[in-house]
């Protein structure tokens, strides 16, 4: 058994800082993805055929290609095509935000369509206009389907965020690799950041459970 955790001790603050660096872009990407995804979902349930087609196409592109490819494309293609030297941070936010918006839009669309269509008919029969019907009658019921799936999406995004290490963004994952090459040991730093990822996901899971319980209580 050749394990020596004492060697990573000096690097612990460096790695812990990675938690914050990762969270920074993950949180921004989640918010960006959520806002954009909600807008795309609105398009998907609308009556504008061309826009709907575009929204579906957009979704299928982001769901149909590897995330790492999307990340590298944005990181390398943007400077090459526009001359703008995009930072790893911005590339990460853009890639994860755009990618997440595709999934979020599907989650919201499916959640809305899962609401009993009698609800919509009852609202229409009462003469309630589209917007208040959506906001006050359909969405509150769709939330029950949407929230758990959204929480899953956020957890996935948090874990997949480790991919940004390939564009040299000094996130949690990348820091484990830096430490490895410093101390010529991989297992200990990887195990350490693994625990940190696990802790982040557990916190998200607990938040999700709490929200779900609150929703059920209000039923």
């Amino acid at each position: 058994m050749n394990l020596d955790f004492s060697q990573i001790v000096p690097y612990i603050p460096f790695m812990l800082e990675g938690v914050w660096v990762t969270l920074q872009f993950v949180i921004i990407a989640i918010i960006f993805g959520f806002i954009l995804g909600s807008l795309i979902a609105l398009v998907k349930i609308s009556r504008f055929t061309l826009l709907k087609w575009l929204a579906d196409f957009y979704t299928s592109i982001f769901r149909g290609t590897p995330l790492i490819l999307q990340l590298l494309l944005i990181y390398y293609a943007v400077p090459q095509l526009t001359g703008y030297d995009i930072s790893p941070f911005l590339s990460a936010i853009l890639t994860f935000g755009l990618n997440s918006s595709a999934y979020v839009s599907e989650i919201i669309r499916a959640g809305i369509q899962a609401v009993d269509k009698g609800q919509r008919e009852a609202a229409e029969a009462l003469g309630i206009p589209y917007r208040p019907m959506m906001i006050k009658i359909i969405l509150p019921q769709a939330m029950k389907n949407i929230l758990p799936a959204l929480m899953n999406e956020f957890i996935t995004l948090t874990k997949e965020s480790a991919l940004v290490s390939v564009i040299s963004y000094l996130d949690l994952m990348r820091r484990a690799q830096v430490v490895s090459s410093d101390i010529y040991r991989s297992f200990e730093p990887l195990l350490f950041v693994g625990l940190l990822y696990y802790a982040m996901v557990m916190v998200l899971t607990l938040i999700g459970k709490y929200v779900e319980r609150r929703m059920r209580a209000s039923d």
């Binding site: 009698g118 008919e121 003469g127 309630i128 206009p129 006050k136």
Partner: protein, 240 residues
């Protein structure tokens, strides 16, 4: 109050309503009966544009609602609808179910809407359920709330689509009683039902539909004693 002329309705290639012509006078109670799949629901839903007629005219208070420039929401405010499966808003309590549309659509004040809701609940015998949520109510209670919710919009016409078909037998009467009261109060209504006793007792006129057509329109008495058409006769033989 309602005038239907040459109404056709198709879903895709299949025509499910063929050349419907009829009218409903103010204060009249019409029941629509006929076998399952004969187009009763579709006909009712064409009257408040939950389904868009494929061709023909539907006049509501002399306004042609098939005209694309019509304000659909305006028309729907004048027509209440009660569904087989109630469709109460599950995240709102009974009071909110009754006040949301009047406040949102007609701009009634909260006080005004609440007062009316209380009166209506008293009328359907559910005053004590003001704060209850739909999932705590029995089927019969849900349907009575649904009737009150439609009445809260003060419609000119009420449409009922098999209002008792989803109920346990012991709850049918409490709902039919509410509908009867409403009929006696002079409300104009069209009721799709399989309750022949109710139809006989309450209706001013029976519309018998089969295979997307109105086969027969008669007074209840003569209809139930001896219908004009053979198809109505064989339908009655089956259900009575």
């Amino acid at each position: 109050m309602i005038n239907v002329e040459k109404l056709h309705k198709s879903f895709g290639e299949t025509e499910v309503l063929h050349d419907i012509n009829t009218s409903i006078e103010r204060g009249e109670v019409v029941t629509i009966i006929g076998p399952s799949g004969s187009g009763k629901s579709t006909f009712l839903r064409c009257l408040n544009l939950l389904e868009q007629p494929t061709s023909g005219q539907v006049l509501v208070n002399d306004e042609d609602i098939t005209n694309p420039n019509i304000n659909i929401l305006n028309i729907r405010q004048q027509i209440g609808m009660v569904f087989q499966h109630f469709h109460l808003f599950p995240h709102m309590n009974v009071l909110e179910n009754l006040t949301y549309a009047p406040m949102t659509v007609k701009g009634e004040s909260k006080v005004e809407a609440k007062q009316k809701a209380e009166q209506l609940l008293a009328k359907v015998g559910l005053s004590e359920k003001l704060e209850a949520f739909p999932n705590s109510l029995s089927g019969g209670q849900k349907q009575r709330v649904a009737i009150a919710r439609a009445l809260a919009m003060e419609p000119d016409l009420m449409l009922f689509d098999e209002p008792t078909s989803a109920l346990d037998p012991e709850m049918v009467k409490e709902v039919l009683d509410v509908i009867k009261d409403l009929a006696h109060s002079g409300m104009t209504m069209a009721v799709v039902t399989h309750e022949m006793g109710f139809a006989k007792e309450v209706a001013d006129r029976i519309i018998f539909m089969d295979e997307g057509k109105i086969v027969e329109e008669s007074e209840p008495k003569s209809f139930f004693e001896k219908p004009d058409s053979e198809r109505a006769q064989s339908f009655l033989d089956k259900v009575l």
